[in-house]
Amino acid sequence: MKCTRRSFLKFAGASAVCLTLGQMGFNLEAARAYAGSLKIEGAKEVTTICPFCAVCCQVIAYVRDGKLVATEGDPDFPVNEGALCAKGAALFTMYTSQHRLLKPMYRAPYSDKWEEKDWDWTLNQIARRVKEARDRDIILQNAAGKTVNRFESIFMMGTSHASNEECAVIHQAMRGLGVVYMDHQART
């Protein structure tokens, strides 16, 4: 059976009005109780892409009331045709993982713990560190007297997890600062 998302939508549209398990051929009370309701029924579908490996399987995120309820391969995408591997199949619990970082954290020099901070403080502190280093270290001319405008004492590492638009932002930001030590995991 080739069940595309479109054929399912047609089905689900009908089911929203009248689906009972009896009509689906389920006569037994027990089976009806067991089947329950479909958790993605009526949820909004948003197209996203699996964040692992460059097959870039397209994924449908099912969202209800602003909350993610499930993720599944997009059957219409010609490359993965709805399929996913173990990692792609785990996208939903990756999102709900209790290990997620949710606030900016700060570790002071020689401290043995993380502290929660707000974004405003954090971005100001980082900007301050960058400016101090840049004003002090940027090399305007090299030993041969050539203009080089090179900020060598900081680096940017990452990331291929960034979208194309984010890559464009990061690249422009770094060259604007004068950073040459920039690289990412295309090499690992």
Partner: protein
């Protein structure tokens, strides 16, 4: 990839080498199985029998680090059996070019070698040219210095015996692969090569890939459906992030990093704009000045003018020849020469080689900014096992980053398709996208420079920079705008409107684009093409699984690169059943061709097929790489072999290495470390595991670090399946659980038994009791062209452990 995922189904032979596609790109196996259903032979050449091998027609075990020997043997086989596609060689490759008298090869060294600097003077490898600079050709292929004969001579040394002795592959198995794959040298047959980090992560990585290019060109497999050299790119978005050059040596769109020797834009353009003497060579990179000017215009907007070199002078300039790659970064950090750094979405304390050095190095930073989904071995390096945090100075700002479903934008898949993803839900907690971190950060810096002054504020203050980040707006910036009203054909584009195609980009400041390759992806006429979801196709396109209206791909929506080489000189497809393009007498039909010009046979308007090379021909002989114009077998930097049959030059004469006290490399055939270790990712975890170890459903499937080893080695060492094992290299010590398997078998190399073991590198100490970084064992030796470290081969020894401390 020269081709794309679906196109694999068109192949008659699939050679998977340097890749474990079923485990690391599992869903692409859909298309490999389709090829198999259509009658293709699937071959897996890899040190370990894996899930890829299980579904292949056959698996051939190869000692890690001997790929060039294996492929060189195939090149020799092609010449011996005359399996090459001669018409293709003559018309589309530089087989007929004469190489200058300066080129020679002697006992493992090419001419121009300087042992002091461990480098080559590449100028001596140049082609012979006539007075006007055009290459001298011998269409009879009889001149001893023509590329065809140089190749033939070079690879005649790659006899079955030499190759078998080196690789540990039996002669029977060599022939099995050679025969099947070389049968695709016929005009209407296609073979594809699928590779990944198994080829790049070697001291001869770039040459591994060049060797495959030689084979594919000799067999006429480039440009055709079911052919190509297909890098199965890893991270999503490693294709896009490479195009946009989060890399030290490039600016976006494969434009070189400016260097000190190029003080002005004119200096830069002079050295970076190739010139051809051949009138029918497109020489596409002659357009580079247009792309660079448009990039500068995108970065600096109205501040960029022809009079001020479009602010070129403000850009940082690297020192000539200096390497700013991540291996150099970490070495500088180790030596205390860096103050701070940004480490975003990457876990170097687990995934870089020689992590003992990396972890010590990071302690030397004054400050570090990380953005991650989870704490990692990198973010928490200051509290790693055995370290008292109170003795570590590094100040760490750890920023919560948004999950894929929490942001919008595009990524580029391995087949260069530009794919849009929508934001499904708001970021968890206070998480932000990377762009929502950098845009306000730069704005704060701009405010500080504006208000307080400082050194060289101009690059920041003159930047064309937004107040807030919007993915759609940046997709448009990448595509590019007109900065002056411009007439294109019968259409007038106003200043601020989107440029329709990269053919319209100019060097005079009237256009901008943050990456010329992506120009045409977002147009006034068709909007954001990465969102297209139209599966329609012509019957010709349907026959090869081409979806020209689904999303968009660079360049100009061309789905198969170099497709002008899939047809004969008159534009007729070599394989009419699987035609990519065809000249109908007036225009090309099928895929978007490599340029609109008529076929090569048209002496007036026709153009040569390989438009990206200066002279229009694919380069069998290529004087551009730092380690030679032809791939040559060298042992890995660390090897159990003291001498191989190809030359006295045991390892690459030009591989890069480091000299700190932590950068040890064992001598060849060091008896203390007789076993080859190869490392890999796995299906259930992602690379260093920083994300997937925090997904309990994935950790359940692969919970702890293991080492795969043969029954023979296990018996020799008294190790049973499931035992604890200690693995040691000259650099470090790691604990793992033994997985004793028939899937790894000893190699016979020059009559001697050599054992190989394999380990994943997905485990790290921040996940309790799962084991710690495998990369404490691996070697900091790198490819001279790419600075990619040799993570796929080093030397170790193993012993059974009675008690483990890292795994419980």
């Amino acid at each position: 990839m020269t081709n794309h995922w679906i196109d694999i189904k068109n192949a008659d032979a699939v050679l998977i080498m340097g890749s474990n596609a079923a485990e690391h790109h599992p869903v692409c196996f859909k298309w490999i199985m389709k090829a198999k259903d259509n009658g293709a032979v699937i071959m897996h050449v890899d040190p370990k029998f894996s899930r890829t091998s299980a579904r292949s027609d056959f698996h051939v075990p190869l000692r890690s680090g001997t790929d060039i020997a294996f492929l060189g043997g195939m090149i020799n086989y092609i010449f011996e059996t005359e399996s090459y596609f001669k018409e293709y060689l003559l018309n589309y490759t530089n087989a007929s070019f004469l190489v200058g008298k300066g080129y020679s090869f002697n006992d493992g060294l090419f001419s121009g070698y300087n042992p002091e600097t461990r480098s080559y003077d590449r100028s001596v490898w140049a082609f012979e040219t006539s007075a006007d600079g055009a290459p001298v050709r011998d269409m009879t292929l009889s001149h001893e210095r023509c590329v065809f004969n140089l190749l033939k001579k070079h690879y005649a040394r790659y006899t079955l015996k030499n190759v078998s002795d080196t690789t540990g592959v039996s002669e029977e198995n060599l022939l099995k692969v050679y025969k099947v794959f070389c049968a695709t040298g016929k005009p209407d047959k296609a073979g594809t090569i699928l590779y990944a980090l198994g080829w790049t992560q070697h001291t001869v990585g770039a040459q591994n890939i060049r060797a495959s290019a030689l084979i594919q060109l000799l067999l006429g497999n480039i440009g055709v459906a079911g052919g190509g050299i297909n890098a199965l790119r890893g991270e999503p978005n490693v294709q896009g992030s490479t195009d946009h050059a989060l890399l030290y040596d490039n600016l976006p769109g494969y434009i070189a990093l400016p260097r000190a020797k190029w003080q002005t834009l004119a200096d830069f353009n002079k050295d970076n704009t190739p010139v051809t003497a051949l009138k029918n060579s497109v020489n596409w990179w002659s357009n580079r000045p247009k792309y660079f000017a448009s990039l500068l215009k995108g970065w600096f907007g109205d501040e960029a003018t022809p009079e001020n070199d479009f602010c070129y002078g403000l850009l940082p300039k690297g020192e000539d020849g200096e390497d700013y790659s991540y291996m150099q970064i970490m070495d500088k950090v180790y030596h205390g020469q860096m103050k701070g750094g940004f480490i975003f979405g990457v876990n170097p304390m687990n995934s870089f080689p020689n992590t003992n050095k990396m972890r010590l190095a990071l302690d030397n930073l004054d400050w570090m900014v990380c953005a991650e989904l989870h704490n990692s071995e990198t973010t928490d390096n200051w509290r790693r096992p055995g370290v008292d945090p109170k003795t570590r100075k590094t100040e760490v700002f750890l920023l919560p980053s948004a999950h894929r479903v929490e942001k919008a934008g595009t990524i580029s898949n391995s087949g260069r398709w530009l794919l849009w993803f929508d934001k499904a839900v708001e970021p968890g907690g206070e998480a932000r996208s990377f762009a929502d971190i950098f845009v306000p950060l730069i704005n704060r810096l701009r405010d500080m420079y504006r208000n307080e002054g400082g050194t060289l504020p101009e690059p920041l203050l003159k930047m064309n920079w937004p107040e807030t980040f919007d993915a759609e707006e940046w997709a448009r910036r990448i595509n590019g705008f007109f900065w002056a009203d411009t007439q294109v054909g019968d259409k007038l584009y106003k200043r601020g409107q989107l440029v329709p195609a990269f053919g319209n980009l100019q060097a005079d400041g009237t256009t901008s684009s943050l990456n010329w390759l992506y120009t045409g992806s977002y147009t006034e006429e068709d909007g954001n093409k990465s969102k297209r979801r139209d599966p329609s196709q012509t019957p010709m396109q349907a026959a090869i699984g081409l979806y020209p209206n689904w999303s968009w791909c660079w360049p100009v929506n061309r789905r198969i690169l170099y497709n002008r080489a899939s047809v004969d000189l008159k534009g007729k497809p070599y394989n009419p059943q699987k035609a990519v393009i065809e000249w109908d007498g007036v225009k090309w039909v099928g895929d978007v061709p490599d340029g609109p010009w008529p076929p090569q046979a048209d002496t007036k308007n026709g153009k040569l097929a390989f438009i990206m090379t200066k002279d229009g021909y694919a380069q069998l002989y290529g004087p551009g790489l730092k380690d030679g114009p032809l791939p040559e077998h060298y042992e890995p930097a660390e090897t159990p072999v003291a001498k191989h049959p190809f030359s006295r030059q045991n390892s690459s004469p030009v591989f890069k290495f480091f000299t700190s006290d932590m950068d040890k490399i064992a001598e060849a055939a060091d008896e203390r470390f007789p076993i080859v270790l190869t490392t890999y990712s796995m299906t259930e975890h992602w690379c260093g595991g920083g994300e997937t170890r925090n997904v309990p459903n994935l950790l359940e499937t692969e919970p702890q670090l293991y080492i795969e080893l043969s029954h023979e080695l296990a018996k020799e060492k008294g190790i049973r399946n499931g035992d604890g094992v200690i693995i040691e290299s000259i650099r470090g010590r790691v604990e793992a659980i033994a997985m004793v398997t028939v899937r790894i078998r000893p190699f016979t190399v020059m009559g001697r038994t050599i054992h190989l073991v394999g380990m994943p590198f997905a485990y790290g100490w921040t996940t309790p009791d799962c084991g710690d970084s495998t990369n404490r064992l691996t070697v900091t030796a790198c490819d001279p062209n790419t600075s990619i470290p040799e993570l796929k081969a080093c030397c170790v020894n193993i012993t059974r452990a009675d008690k483990l401390t890292e795994i419980a």
